[in-house]
Symmetry: C2
Subunit: 521 residues, 2 copies
């Protein structure tokens, strides 16, 4: 890291300008890519099959399998090589919803908007009964409910009202925001997230302990159904990461992640002394025949004698949450990567280096698909023991920030690559992509590569309605995809792949990360 810091203090942001670049972009090929990508796109058709047709693609679920099988078939049809599913390791159980019905019946009828929490059981048939308001700030507060909750529907007190933002749900980056990103300084090393001894952290730990205790208590007391409040308003339900999918996961109670308005209505009624009854019929199914996780693989093999063993890898995660159909998260990125491959194949590209595309599974549970793949092929970030192939991957490009078009790239602190990317983005200035920022971005699969010293990058994408409406929600559906943005992204990705595959040298690398210290116990 030291070398980069020095470089930064000596140079200004203008280091990223094309003037320093020795990159030459083949404009004729860029034009071919643009023509195919912008005028003959199949990205929305692909997205349709991954979302509407497959349904949710939760890790281990039949929906994911359906989508993976479809993708494998489609990639073969397009002429990719070495197409298939590769196991990245053991995941755990699959799960899907078979029935989801719940309604208030007393004081009047009202069907609620709610989604079964991932990896929770159903109600074992239709249930009907009183809803009980749980008020517990500490674990001992639960004692008053002992023996009173069997078969009941439980809801936990809250008084936090819903609020409405005065900002629009949808946004795109302004020039000012992009300039600010471009001018950002590298992150100081060792900066943490707030000490593990801070009051906020202690409060959070206490809350988590309470929630765990309540969860176990509800199982012991044989509660019929738990209602938890989902984030979101207006019918939008953001689901959580769910219960455990481990083979030996301990039992949990059936649980519905409930829309804010419905949840608070029930709380207000009960808190106001008005009796509430509900009926519900929730059926879920677990799958444990095959506990492995799989990534979709496809290649356009390299043709240069010396370079074909080197790799350009692109990817995005293929799995999703289950409230919607994982359209912006991440059928968008998956469809774009597939489309980038299709574009390159269609224009008859015969790359020097091998191009490989991976569509990860179980990113949502912790980047497992990419981490497993990297562990199997390139090295172990815990020890930094590297495999020979690590030295052969020129770069990894990722897309997983929604449907928004590409505005640029996060350099992950790799200063040297800046001018290269700047040059590669030049032909797409008219499409709004020109920002290169030294900053890191987190939370997705490029980090798995970055962790073992392989240049790995996530593109800067327009925010759109990702955080406000779609990310992990029941509104993450096909309607949220913006065709022009996805076409632009596929075009730019294809161009980056082309450039990486054809340039004389491998992409420059940062200093190799050191293995993390063994955590104190």
């Amino acid at each position: 890291m030291k070398k980069n810091l020095l470089l930064t203090t000596l140079l200004s942001a203008s280091v990223f300008t094309a003037a320093f670049a020795q990159e030459v972009v083949d404009q004729a090929v860029v034009q071919k890519i643009r023509e195919e990508g912008l005028n003959h796109s199949q990205v929305m058709k692909t997205a349709f099959y991954l979302t509407d047709v497959s349904g949710p693609r939760l890790s281990g679920s039949p929906g994911l399998k359906h989508a993976q099988d479809w993708a494998v078939g489609q990639l073969k049809t397009w002429g990719m090589a070495n197409v298939g599913l590769e196991s990245w390791g053991k995941f755990g159980k699959g799960w899907e919803v078979e029935k989801n019905y719940a309604a208030i019946t007393v004081p009047y009828y009202h069907a609620i908007i709610a989604i079964p929490k991932a990896w929770t059981p159903g109600t074992a048939g239709p249930i009907k009964g009183d809803v009980v308001l749980i008020k517990a700030d500490t674990i001992t507060d639960l004692d008053q409910y002992k023996g009173k909750l069997k078969g009941k529907i439980v809801i936990t007190y809250t008084k936090t009202p819903l609020t409405r933002s005065t900002k629009p749900d949808l946004s795109r980056y302004t020039d000012e925001e992009l300039d600010k990103m471009a001018a950002a300084q590298p992150a100081a090393p060792g900066g943490g997230r707030g000490g593990a001894n801070s009051p906020a952290f202690a409060a959070m730990r206490k809350l988590r302990a309470l929630r765990t205790a309540m969860s176990e208590f509800f199982v012991q007391e044989q509660v019929g159904l738990v209602l938890s409040q989902a984030r979101g308003t207006d019918g939008t339900v953001f689901t959580t990461n769910g219960a455990s999918y481990a083979e030996d996961a301990k039992p949990v109670a059936p649980e519905l992640e409930t829309s804010g308005e419905d949840y608070l209505r029930i709380v207000r009624l009960l808190d106001g002394g008005i009796a509430v009854q509900m009926e519900a019929d929730v059926q879920t199914k677990f799958f444990d025949k095959d506990l492995n996780g799989y990534d979709v693989v496809a290649e356009i093999p390299g043709t240069d004698k010396k370079l074909k063993d080197q790799l350009v890898i692109i990817g995005g995660h293929f799995d999703s949450w289950h409230g919607g159909t994982g359209a912006t998260d991440n059928a968008a990125g998956s469809a774009v990567m597939m489309e980038a491959m299709r574009i390159l194949k269609t224009i008859g590209f015969k790359p020097k280096r091998t191009i490989r595309m991976l569509l990860w599974s179980s990113e949502e549970q912790g980047l497992f698909g990419s981490r497993g793949y990297v562990l199997n092929h390139f090295g172990d970030p815990k020890t930094m023991q590297l495999k020979p192939e690590q030295a052969k991957v020129s770069a990894y490009y990722n897309l997983d920030n929604g449907t928004g078009k590409i505005r640029g790239v996060y350099l992950q602190g790799n200063q040297e690559i800046g001018p290269i990317f700047k040059t590669w983005l030049e032909p797409f200035k008219d499409l709004g992509a020109s920002t290169v920022t030294i900053s890191n971005t987190g939370g997705t699969d490029h980090q798995s590569f970055d962790a073992v010293g392989i240049p790995g990058f996530q593109f800067i994408q327009e925010p759109m309605d990702y955080n406000t409406r779609t990310h992990h929600s029941n509104q993450d559906v096909y309607d949220r995809l913006v065709e022009d943005d996805l076409k632009q992204a596929a075009t730019i990705v294809a161009s980056f792949v082309y450039n990486t595959a054809q340039r004389a040298d491998m992409m420059p690398r940062k200093e190799l990360p050191k293995p993390p210290p063994t955590p104190a116990n």
Copy 2:
């Protein structure tokens, strides 16, 4: 109308300034009203009972009856006189939902967000079956489906995608917008809505004819369930005005007004050649024991020997649609009017003129509660035959534009009242209410009074999220109510009532409307 036009051409907007006013506002009483209204409000408690506790208040439904009975009880408890329900005339059948469940089962399971269309029958038990895509631009296009739809679930083709606004859902008037309203000129008389012979009108009429034909066709063909696309996004469903509630309404098919995302997903699948199956269990109930409609009435009787037979009337409609709990439309206005009465009673106000509050029903079906009341008490706008009491109503004040606070008043072309209202608003400038506009506003109950020559007014209210999220939607629930806004509104209404009750003269009137010409057939 001529006199007002002349007045307007001679005077500028400054005619509304306090300088012309001869009104004197009793500041001590205003302070009492503010103290009670802003610091001891019960408006949210009232709103809680009208929404969460009562459920939807659809015309003729048990929910409306429940809320009316509660309101009558509460008004009596507060000490109002002559409290009760007064029939305004014959309405028709009541209706409510008893069960609302529907889900896609093929190609995978997905519970949809949808609401039974008002006054439609249920599915007569659980149904399961194919969904059929109907493509029909003309009535003869329906022939291809003859004999093929029995027991099926039908959905009509559309290719219009959902769009997302770049504006926030929530807004308040800017000073610029209010200034523009204040400076507005009176509407020219005789301006219409576009000729009945315009192409747009013809297209609309053709579409309506097609829809009617389809509706009848579905009944003939014994369709199991109709899906129609509701306006709205993100889980928000705006319901329509429903089917007929008339005693002799002709049969219609069961119908679910379906969230846009779910509707379009099914259309895309079917249009893409992917089979879709659904299951549904919709149960609704009609009520025809008492076909009459009722308004809630309450009074604070006048005390002045000469003036107590004169009336100050306030009101708002009490009925709602059934997707949510009619919180902003119009538990907000109803709660504010009830609260205004409570404020005046609590400060010990003994008015000169009688104050009467009406909470209308069946406004949503065509201002029926207020029209019927006006017909019974004051006159017939069709003939302009007036009853003696018409001469005794000083003014009618209405609230029915959501939860937003009062910014001012629409004068409905009554120029003379401008300075009076401006003076009455002065003590509330700090609360954001100061705008007086000559303009009309429509669509609610003040028009019933205006039509028979009684000064009737709706206040200017902040837009909030009324048009974007709540008006006639499943998101019109308690969480959308903003306490500070409702407190402000009740305080201002109480003050207007006080002023109207106590001033020496009746409020000035516009020229009496002429009876409308008999429409040509």
